[in-house]
Every structure is written in C-alpha cells, then in structure tokens.
C-alpha cells in the first residue's frame, strides 16, 4: 500500500478533466468550478453542506451524487460536501418521485434540518415524478411535499450537470 501511496504522490495526475471529448467545454466547466468556490466562500463562509435523501429513486441519481465525491470531480475541494445528518445540512438534495412509503421520512428529514435551508429536486423523478408520475405509489415530485428551491432535470443528471446547476443557483442567491 505504501508503494501505491508513493506512486500516487509522484504521478502528477490527480484528477482527470471532466470531459475528455471536448477540452474546451471541460475548461469552461473547470472555470465554472472556481467560480462556484468563490460563491460558496462568500455566501456560506467557505462551505455548503448537503444532506442527500433518496425518496424512492432507482439509485442512478444517488450514484451520480456519490461520483461528485470521487477523485475526478472531487467537489470537496470547493467546500461542498455530503453530510450524514440533516442537522448538519444547509441543503436537502432529494431524488426519486417521492414514494408514498417514504413521504413521512422525507417530511421528518426536512423538519430536522435547521433554517435557513434549501431544497433541491434532483433528477426527472424528483422534478415531476418522471416515468413514475402516474403510479398509485408515488406522490409525483418533491414539490408536492416540500417547497423546492432548485430543480435539476436529467435521468440521471450527470455529475457535471449537478455541479453546473448548483453554481447557477448559488449565484442567483448571492444577488
């Protein structure tokens, strides 16, 4: 393992560019991330803490949120992190169409999050129920249950799309 750590330290490449195909857009995105960091620095004293709540998602959106913390996107370097308890959160990021059997748990999580707080509906299901919209077992979107401040469409939205949407939102809040 020591060998691996030394190898990692010596190799120059720590993160890879977000899009390998389009270098220009990757540059723009990276510039965007720097901007995001400035926003977070000024609004939230250098950090924004997110509590992710799965309200009946298929788990694709969760994996994209997890990917945000991998060495490629590494959102922690910008002061964004996912926290274990709603008590520590500034923002609830909700995925899934809100299944009826998760509704109570979602409400309780919201109540447990201290004010001021933002609610993000992440993914098509969370936005309006998505393909599950007409099912008897779902409420059909987070806005049916909680006041939503930001929607991030996509099935699932890519890590890059999630970062971009958060940036636009935080900028808007700053104004």
């Amino acid at each position: 393992m020591l060998k691996q750590i030394i190898r990692n330290l010596l190799s120059g490449k720590k993160t890879i560019s977000i899009s390998q195909e389009d270098i220009a857009s990757a540059r723009a995105a990276l510039a965007g991330l720097e901007e995001l960091k400035t926003e977070i620095d000024s609004i939230y004293s250098r950090s924004i803490r997110i509590r992710q709540v799965d309200a009946g998602s298929c788990n694709a959106c969760e994996w994209e949120c997890t990917a945000l913390t991998n060495p490629v996107y590494d959102v922690q370097r910008f002061g964004i992190d996912f926290v274990a308890s709603p008590r520590h959160a500034d923002m609830l990021l909700v995925t899934g169409p809100v299944s009826r059997q998760m509704e109570l748990a979602l409400r309780k999580t919201y109540d447990a999050t201290p004010d001021p707080k933002f609610v993000v509906a992440c993914g098509d299901c969370a936005v309006n129920g998505g393909i599950y919209n007409s099912s008897y077992a779902v409420a059909g979107g987070v806005s049916k249950i909680l006041p939503v401040d930001l929607v991030i469409p996509g099935c699932p939205p890519s890590p890059q799309q999630i970062i971009t949407a958060l940036l636009a939102f935080l900028k808007q809040q700053h104004r």
Binding site: M1, G56, E62, A67, N70, R100, M102, Y132, A137
Partner: protein, 521 residues
C-alpha cells in the same frame, strides 16, 4: 402420495418453458415433487388476475431444472376462496413471494409460517390489493397511506428479550448516500444477535405501471427499475416481450446486448470492490475503485450516450450500434486492466483490510441454497448459480468463460468472486469485439399476439433477473412480473450478519450490494 396421483390438467411447451397446469389442491405437491426429485431451483413465483378471461386468479411457480436449460412453470387456477396451500414449509425460498402475492392480490397462502405484510406498509388500507384489475383507491386512503401514521394492519417486529439485549433502530434515511430501508438490530453488546430488515420504502407500483403504459414504453420503465442494473433489466424485459411475439433477433443485436451486459457488470464489480474499502476505512482503495468506475462510466457515455447504458435496447433489438466503437472500448480496457491489477495487488497486500474481510459476514451454503440466493452471493458461498451458464442466452453459448466458485461465503469470498467475474467480463468484452456480425440491428415487431405468455431473463451484476409477461385479448400487457436478484438475496442478509459486530454491518451490506429499488418494485 406420489406423482401418479397428480392429475395434469394441461401442459404446453414453448422454447425452454414448460407450463404444467394442475388443480389448486395439487399445486403444493407438484411443486414439492419437482423441487425434490429434479433438484430444481425456485426461480420466481407470482400471481396474475385472469378473471376477465378465465374467471379466476392464477398462481405460477417457475423452477429451473438442474443441469438442463429448461424452466418448469407450475400453475393453478384459484377458486372463489382466493387461497392455496403454501409451499414455504417445503420450499423456504417461496416465503417472500407468497407474502408479496398476498399483499398485491389478496391470495392467502394457507400454512405460511409468517404471512404478515411485506410490500405494503402499515398505513396502507386493509383488504386493498393493488394488482387486482378492479382495484381502486380513494384520495383519503392515499392520504392516510402517505402520512404513514395510522396502523391499518400492524407490523410486528420480532422482539428479542433477555438480559443485556438492546435494540438499535437504523433508517430508513441513512448516513451515507444510499437507498432507504429500516434495520432493527437486537444486539448483545456489540454483537448482532438478530437483524430484521423492513424494506419496500421505495415501492413505486412498478408492475401495475407496466400494465398501464403498454409494452413499448415498458422498455424505458424497465431501465429505471434499478439504476445500476438498467441494462440487465431492459435486456430481460425485451427478451420476454420478444419471445412473446416470436421475434428472432439478428446476431448483431444479440452481440451488442451481451457486450453491454458485460460492460455493466464490469463497472459494477470494480465499483463494488472499491466500495467495500469504504466499509473498512481504506480510503486509497475506495478512491482507486471510484476512479476506475468513473472511467468506465465515461466510456459508457461516449459509446452509447448514457452513463447507465440507457436508451440502447428497443423491442426487437438495439438502437445503438456501438460495436463500431471497438477501438475506444479496447483502449479504455487496456488502461482499466492496468489500474485494476494495481488495485487488486494493493488490496491483497493490505493486511488490515483483509483482516476485516476474512470470516466476516459468513453465509453458509445450506442457507444460501434453501433461500434461493443468487449471483455473486451464491457463488461466494459455493453455489454454482449463473444464468449465463445454466440457461445460455444472447451470445453466451459462443463465449468462453468460467463461473468462479468460492467456498467460504465470507466478505472476502464475495470480493474475490467479484474480482474473478470482472476479469471474465474483460475477456468476454474483448472476445465479442474480435467477432464479426452482419449489420442488422433489430427485428421488426408489428403486433403483440393476444393471450400469450413468455419468460425473459439475464444474469445481472447482482445475479439472476427475471421478467414474465402475459398479454391480454387485445395484445396489451395483462401482467408484467419482475423479479430482481435482490429480492432473493435480502432475506439472506440477517443470516450473514448474525454473530458479527454492529460496525461490520455496513461492510457486510456493501459486500452483498443489494438494490432496494429493484427489490421494492
């Protein structure tokens, strides 16, 4: 009683599916005979509301016969009393299926040792069964269900009592970015004496929705049943509908589906091995696994346009010809192979990591067999269960691969079963890319025939996956049954964690890596 006394009302064979209809009173005995005499495996069990056509409900039990590519599907029409003899006392793997059928259809398994609710939680109205064709629910009932406060049918957790025993309730909202489920540990100090998992929080009424949206749109829905098995789900669903229609797929479509299944398996296994490092606090291993997985996800996006391989399948074949991108796939695999070897070498040399894995979360072969455990979890416990070998479909009959068996059934065995499987996937992907196929991508499917039924299946990254579809008199879906591997494996989890310490539970959980959404439907 013996086999001669059972009167077979009708039997019908189509492809490798053999339907045997028996009277309701013979259902249990027929199932038990097949199970015992042919050493068969209960693959799935379900009911269908066929009252519009035949005036009754029907129950089905699908067995796969050992060492034969054959499914025996025992079925019986139920009378007006809506009950049947439970097969759970003889075939324990049936226990969840029978409870699910009771919830969704209101058909009573007489003699089931624990027939409480499974899918529907306490606040769902009593005596209401969503998969019945004449079912409806009022707004006020929906409100009560959503609020989740009223107990229409109580849920009784197993109570463990005695000196020094205390309960630890966890969830449904967990600390990490994972799916929701409620776990109740009865612990003695740090040691788990008993674990009860209350799941189905993500129940989305998927099977009912399949009936509503029609066969074609069902492809999109099947891709959204369980995120990281999107392709396996849509491949199995498409296969069921294609068999129903009698469609012959062009070889290129079969090859592309096989390729995508293996690409899906590879990113899952490598990611899962990395995640197991998160369970032991080995940050370097976790980061390495996540990095390799991300590289594979980006490859998926480049060749198919979707990180989760969505939008590739269509009824009759595939929409996207990514065999043409062989060069990109091969060169990415070269890179992945190097990184993957580094990761495995590092893990194998990391004593503190291995020490946590070995002898942790042991699932015995006997329990795995009696509960019908499938996939990686089964192979790690010494059960040779692999749909690719047992029921060769798509291109698997033409590919070279071995199902890698482990014996010990602990977390380490599950990691190594994944590692061996990942290497198999890499070699199969390369083998497919070296083959040549004609250019047709899909067969034409004009019309779905009326009142037909068929089975579709796949070996998903988590294990065997089934869809069963039946069309009604107008060629619309009368019933779509889906059975994800997690539905078989969740009941085994409490057995694997018994006697382990509570802090090892996340590690055990990650070693199984079960889907909640796929199980909850």
């Amino acid at each position: 009683m013996n086999t001669q006394e059972i009167r077979i009302l009708s039997s019908q064979t189509r492809l490798n599916e053999e339907y045997i209809e028996v009277a309701k009173d013979d259902f249990r005995l027929t199932c038990v005979n097949i199970f015992r005499k042919h050493n068969a495996l209960l693959r799935l069990m379900f009911a269908a509301d066929e009252r519009a056509e035949t005036g009754c409900f029907r129950i089905y039990a699908v067995f796969s016969v050992k060492d034969e590519d054959r499914f025996v599907i025992v079925n019986s029409a139920l009378g007006t009393d809506c009950s049947y003899q439970s097969i759970t006392p003889d075939i324990p793997a049936a226990h969840w299926y029978e409870r699910e059928i009771k919830d969704m259809f209101g058909l009573m398994p007489i003699g089931h040792p624990s027939p409480g609710r499974l899918v529907l939680h306490e606040s769902f109205p009593a005596g209401s069964h969503p998969l019945r064709k004449d079912w409806s629910i009022s707004d006020s009932e929906l409100k009560v269900w959503s609020e989740g406060v009223v107990e229409n049918e109580p849920y009784n957790f197993m109570k463990v009592e005695g000196e020094g025993i205390f309960e630890i309730p966890v969830g449904p909202v967990h600390a990490g970015i994972i799916e929701p489920g409620h776990f109740r540990f009865s612990a003695i100090g740090e040691t788990i004496f008993f674990l009860e998992a209350k799941l189905f929080y993500t129940h989305k009424g998927t099977e009912k929705l399949f009936e509503k949206i029609g066969f074609e749109k069902g492809v999109q829905l099947s891709e959204r049943v369980s995120g990281t098995s999107s392709f396996a789900h849509s491949a199995a669903y498409c296969m069921a509908v294609e068999r129903l229609c009698g469609a012959e797929l062009p070889e290129r479509a079969l090859a592309i589906r096989t390729l995508a299944l293996e690409m899906e398996r590879l990113y899952n296994h490598i990611g899962d091995i990395g995640n197991m490092c998160a369970g032991t606090g080995l940050a370097v291993g976790y980061a390495k696994g996540a990095l390799l997985k991300e590289e594979l996800m980006q490859l998926n996006a480049r060749v198919t346009g979707s990180r989760y391989l969505r939008g590739v399948n269509t009824l009759g074949g595939v929409k996207c010809d990514f065999l043409q991108k062989a060069e990109d796939i091969n060169s990415t695999l070269d890179h992945i192979t190097i990184g993957y070897k580094q990761m495995m070498d590092m893990l194998q040399q990391s004593v503190s990591h291995l020490e946590r894995l070995e002898t942790t979360g042991v699932l015995s072969k006997d329990i795995a067999k009696s509960l019908g455990v499938t996939g990686i979890a089964a192979r790690a416990s010494g059960l040779n269960d692999d749909m690719r070998a047992d029921h060769p479909h798509l291109l698997y009959h033409a590919l070279h691969f071995e199902s890698n068996l482990m014996a010990k059934g602990d977390v380490y065995a599950r990691m190594m079963a994944r590692a061996a499987d990942a290497e198999c996937s890499i070699s199969m992907i390369r083998e497919i890319l070296s083959m040549r196929f004609d250019s047709r991508l899909a067969a034409d499917i004009h019309k779905v025939p009326a009142m037909q039924q068929a089975l579709g299946y796949a070996e998903s990254p988590r294990g065997s996956l089934f869809y069963w579809v039946r069309s009604d008199s107008e060629g619309r879906p009368l019933r779509v049954k889906l059975r994800s591997p997690s539905f078989c494996n969740w009941p085994a989890m409490p057995f694997a964690v018994h006697g382990n310490i509570v802090p090892d539970f996340p590690l055990c959980n990650k070693s199984f890596n079960l889907s909640y959404s796929g199980c909850d439907m």
